[in-house]
């Protein structure tokens, strides 16, 4: 319960780091399977502990994603707000579950996030793209799983005791 909350400077550094990975990967190897690090960062903080971050944090990261990706301003912000709302509110339910169940939850969240983006693209008559836009989800879940196992920062049974 007494998980140490990260400071503001730490969070800003992490945001910069996540965007740096995203930009660097785009230069060196461009792949549809590359996980979306900024949204994984939001997920990480949402599931790190009770109320480590609020929706405002995800909103700001979302705006960053919009500016970086030249999307409609507010598109990713909206998707990530809904995403983090669910993640934060399900935190207590989540921490009693096994890693496999948690990763199904993460999969659901990421699909929801991309669905919101997809719908906004469609409604505003942007190019919606093919199957490729969904491909990053599976590697993202795998990355989240392995990171959670490694760091053990995830809300697991151990922290409950």
């Amino acid at each position: 319960m007494t998980s140490k909350n990260p400071s503001l400077a730490q969070m800003i550094l992490m945001i910069l780091f996540a965007f740096s990975i995203q930009i660097l990967s785009s230069i060196f190897f461009n792949s549809f399977f590359w996980p979306n690090f900024p949204s994984l960062l939001v997920l990480y903080y949402c599931l790190k502990g009770p109320r480590v971050v609020g929706i405002g944090f995800s909103f700001i990261v979302g705006l960053g994603l919009d500016i970086y990706g030249s999307n409609i301003l507010g598109q990713n912000a909206l998707a990530l707000s809904i995403f983090s709302y669910i993640a934060i509110n399900q935190y207590f339910l989540m921490r009693t579950k096994s890693l496999l169940q948690q990763s199904i939850f993460v999969l659901f969240l990421l699909i929801l996030n991309e669905t919101v983006l997809y719908l906004i693209d469609g409604w505003t008559r942007q190019a919606t793209g093919g199957i490729e836009r969904w491909l990053y989800i599976a590697p993202s879940v795998l990355l989240w799983c392995s990171t959670a196992m490694w760091l053990d920062h995830s809300p697991s049974k151990k922290t409950l005791v």
Partner: protein, 278 residues
């Protein structure tokens, strides 16, 4: 009573959703956010430029330590190429003169390249919905929106959003890209649309009986006034006539590619002769 504090209320979410919706509305429906977007993109520029430093340093050191013999060999090849190009230029000048005379007869305006500026790619965005580049030139270098960008001596795309010191370029294969082209062999004019797959464009508006074959070279037709005429665009790779559709399905591979070279060039055009004033 700790649990309720740890939850986020729906009101919170509703507030942020509302802000996002207002932002999206303003971004789509009015131009209010264009200037603020410009500022925010400029804020992201230093990060992108800083991230570009390691790869730049790597290439720089690779050049320094490259072998002397290799460089000499390359120099020799470049000299030979230069000579060949000079000879071609001599021919080209003559052709240009002839062409101008003919164009005058036809009363069309031909645009020619006035000057050009090289730019370096600082980030690539190639996802399901867009194929775009960001390069390290912006308004301070005189770049404007919808400017022609070339690479490897062929059309690469056009500038779409211009920042202070970086510019986003939409490539020909982007979903939202279209370019007026002409088949060199037959002279047929049509539009080449981006397919969303890297390096591939399609020609969706050609009638069934059009004379087009795999291997045909497509160049810009100059119609529309955005691109100059005669720039190589793509080579036809597949022609499909299925007998159901009244149109022929043609896909072509773009000639300019960013894999081989990280340098692209912006070009400035000037009309060869003034348009007739009413």
């Amino acid at each position: 009573m700790k649990l309720p504090q740890n939850r986020v209320s729906g009101l919170h979410l509703a507030t942020y959703v509302l802000i996002a919706l207002i932002l999206m509305f303003l971004d789509i429906r009015s131009g209010w956010l264009v200037s603020s977007r410009y500022i925010m993109q400029s804020a992201l520029e230093p990060i992108q430029l800083a991230l570009n430093l390691p790869s730049r340093a790597w290439r720089w050191s690779a050049e320094i330590f490259q072998e002397r013999a290799l460089l000499q060999e390359e120099n020799k090849q470049l000299r030979a190429k230069n000579l060949a190009l000079e000879l071609e230029t001599i021919n080209f000048v003559g052709l240009l003169r002839d062409n101008t005379e003919l164009r005058k007869l036809q009363d069309t305006s031909l645009k020619v390249t006035e000057h050009w500026l090289p730019a370096e790619i600082i980030s690539v965005q190639e996802n399901a919905r867009s194929i775009r580049l960001r390069v390290n030139r912006g308004t301070q270098h005189g770049i404007f929106k919808a400017q022609t960008v070339i690479a490897n001596g062929a059309l690469l795309g056009q500038s779409i959003s211009v920042g202070a010191s970086s510019t986003e370029i939409i490539l020909l294969s982007d979903w939202e890209s279209a370019v007026p082209v002409q088949n060199i062999r037959t002279g047929v004019r049509t539009l080449a649309f981006g397919t969303g797959n890297s390096g591939t464009v399609s020609l969706p508006f050609l009638p069934f009986q059009t004379d087009i074959r795999a291997g045909d070279m497509l160049v810009t037709s100059g119609l529309g006034g955005v691109f100059p005429a005669g720039l190589p665009v793509a080579r036809v790779s597949e022609v499909r006539r299925d007998g159901i559709s009244p149109l022929v399905q043609v896909t072509a591979q773009t000639i300019a590619n960013i894999d081989s070279d990280r340098i692209v060039a912006f070009i400035w055009l000037k009309p060869m002769r003034k348009l007739a004033t009413p």
